[in-house]
Subunit: 356 residues, 2 copies
DNA sequence: TTAAATTGTGTGTGCGCACACACAAGAAAA
DNA sequence: TTTTCTTGTGTGTGCGCACACACAATTTAA
């Protein structure tokens, strides 16, 4: 372990004081061109790497990350990223990184807007949120430009100059992957029932992308043998309705072999299905919610594609720490793995959700 | 951001000096019982959490982690954990954590032993290695007891008091998972050809475990419809031999639908197979080696189970940093996820291998 | 020409903690 | 009783860096 090079070493070698070296490093100006060149040259020569530990200690400034998320416990999916963020905050708090949380109603653009304003008022150093409502999100991003708050998006990407980084899944590709798994389960031919259990499905780009991915994959695989039936259900909290709808469809179309639930609500479908002598349906859904996992273990759900929602939140905070504390550049897009989860390998992912 | 509590605050509140508080925290003794109790009580009351940044800075000691691994570039699989370790070292070097690497010949117990001695001679603070040779590994662990070097095992676990932590896959469960995937591919019935492309297969517990997992799963699924044929091939570097062997087996047994290559050498099989009008075989293998990935994309390998070899190495170093720098307790066993990798989701895992 | 602003450089302090050292008081050994 | 050891406590320095401040040498303005 050849002793680390410090700014003091640089100073000596360059024949200046540490203050001058410091000014060069932080580009604070007030250094003559020659001296600056000399210092930089010595830094290169000695391969200087600043001691980030000492740096953060001396920096001694708290970083506040504003977090704008759907209200906790209002929807099981949306709890995941928030909890991931909190876990991350816990593990970087000694760098002086804190969260300022502001919750909003998942189905209310007005509330989103109100919460956004409240959050900005607290002057956070950065912002993290999922752009659930496109119009309001763009307004928020515009506002961020003014107050110069860098932003990380999770869950859905939006093109905007103020977006420093997007962390989330590749929705199209997750549709492709679903196609692969379902085509395997269908063994050559059959119909896929695509279920959008959501409100305002038409506006949800990520759901559209998943459908597109599925259709593209199946078409490329075997255009004539596979069919996709799409059904949007806004009233997904009504089990009787869901069940009867499903039965109607099964009567109307034969050869429906699999169901693709495009979001995390596959468990709602399973809960709704009455035990009858139905043809066996293979069900594919998303995300490791407790209910989904339960049905996966019971064999009522066959596949879950893990979009790593919890890890999305975790990474968002970790990355902002890297950005502020360690001065790292962040990639514009970070797609997380699409894990194929079956009963036989679910335990590891559940464990990882807790850990990190 | 309520200002953090420091040892100075504790000292004031308890009416003692910081030195005394320090002695209490580090249990260095030389503190009277009453004072110690008082200090602890104040620490509790103020919810003191030491500033780990300041702590590591002041600690100012280099930690050397001894790494004993198969020689780089001798086997593509074994490169992964080592590269993971180097990546990890890079990301924690500012804590003063360094690696002392010592390589050995993958097939030579003698060389392993020699390298182990050479490594111990450099007095590392901890040791990481895969216990490839059981006898020699146990000797090494015994020696570690004497010199008091805590050890982390990767890839294979061994019971020994000096083993602080094992990081790796659950081999049995990976066999189970393979069973699940292959049974799906076989659609109800058929034979699995289990290929051990390795030397000294009989001594390799992890290969045995995989076989057991596969057999248990298939038996439980449908005892009568599935059969496992096992074939050990020590001469796996000879393509002609492999190809003819496979053809013999296909002639001898009908209804072989799938091949389970129990380690990372599935690509060797694919390379050996001559393009003939064979019945289509679904092939399952392990690990994201470049060659395996290539054949996965080409559709010649159907599934890869990712044992996260690279991440194993990464975690080993990260965990030791946590242990030494942040005084965290490590779990005795850390099983990494068994990722199901198909052509449609491979990219993310490849990307993660590079990143972390 | 002189005062004021600007530029270039060095010094000093503090971030919170770890640890060596100093030193007093009492206990044990001589 | 004197000496040595032990125990309990406080003080001081340094880890490497960030940043405020001091101050001289210029340059610009008045």
């Amino acid at each position: 372990m050849n002793k680390r090079v410090t700014i003091k070493d640089i100073a000596e070698q360059a024949g200046v004081s540490v203050g001058t070296v410091d000014r060069v490093i932080h580009e604070r100006g007030r250094v003559s061109a020659e001296v600056k060149a000399k210092v930089l040259q010595v830094m290169q020569a000695l391969d200087f790497e600043p001691n980030l530990i000492a740096s953060t200690l001396a920096f001694n400034r708290a970083i506040q990350i504003g977090v704008l998320m759907p209200r906790l416990h209002s929807d099981p999916y949306w709890d995941l990223p928030l909890l991931g963020m909190r876990r991350a905050q816990h593990s970087v708090k000694h760098y002086g990184v804190g969260l300022v949380e502001q919750m909003f109603d998942l189905f209310s653009p007005q509330d989103f807007k109100k919460s956004a304003i409240a959050l900005i008022d607290q002057k956070p150093d950065a912002l993290v949120f999922p752009p659930i409502f496109l119009k309001e999100s763009l307004e928020l991003l515009d506002h961020c430009v003014e107050v110069k708050v860098p932003t990380i998006l999770v869950n859905t990407d939006v093109e905007h100059p103020q977006v420093m980084s997007y962390i989330g899944q590749d929705s199209y590709q997750s549709g492709v992957l679903a196609g692969k798994l379902l085509s395997m389960a269908m063994n050559g031919s059959g119909k896929v029932l695509l279920l959008n259990l959501d409100k305002e499905t038409l506006n949800a780009k990520h759901l559209m992308d998943k459908e597109l991915g599925l259709r593209d994959f199946l078409a490329q695989k075997d255009k004539n043998s596979f069919t996709v039936l799409r059904q949007d259900v806004e009233d997904f909290d009504n089990p009787e309705r869901l069940d009867s709808l499903l039965n109607e469809l099964l009567q109307q179309y034969d050869d429906i072999k699999t169901v693709f639930v495009t979001n995390s609500r596959a468990y709602k479908l399973v809960e709704a299905i009455q035990e009858q002598a139905q043809p066996h349906l293979n069900i594919l859904g998303f995300d490791l919610l407790p209910n989904n996992l339960h049905f996966l273990q019971m064999g009522k759900i066959d596949f879950l594609i893990n979009q790593n929602a919890s890890y999305q939140g975790y990474l968002a905070i970790k990355n902002l720490t890297d950005y502020f504390i360690f001065k790292k550049q962040l990639p514009r897009v970070q797609h997380l793995p699409l894990d194929i989860v079956v009963a036989e390998n679910a335990a590891y992912y559940v464990q990882r959700e807790q850990g990190n």
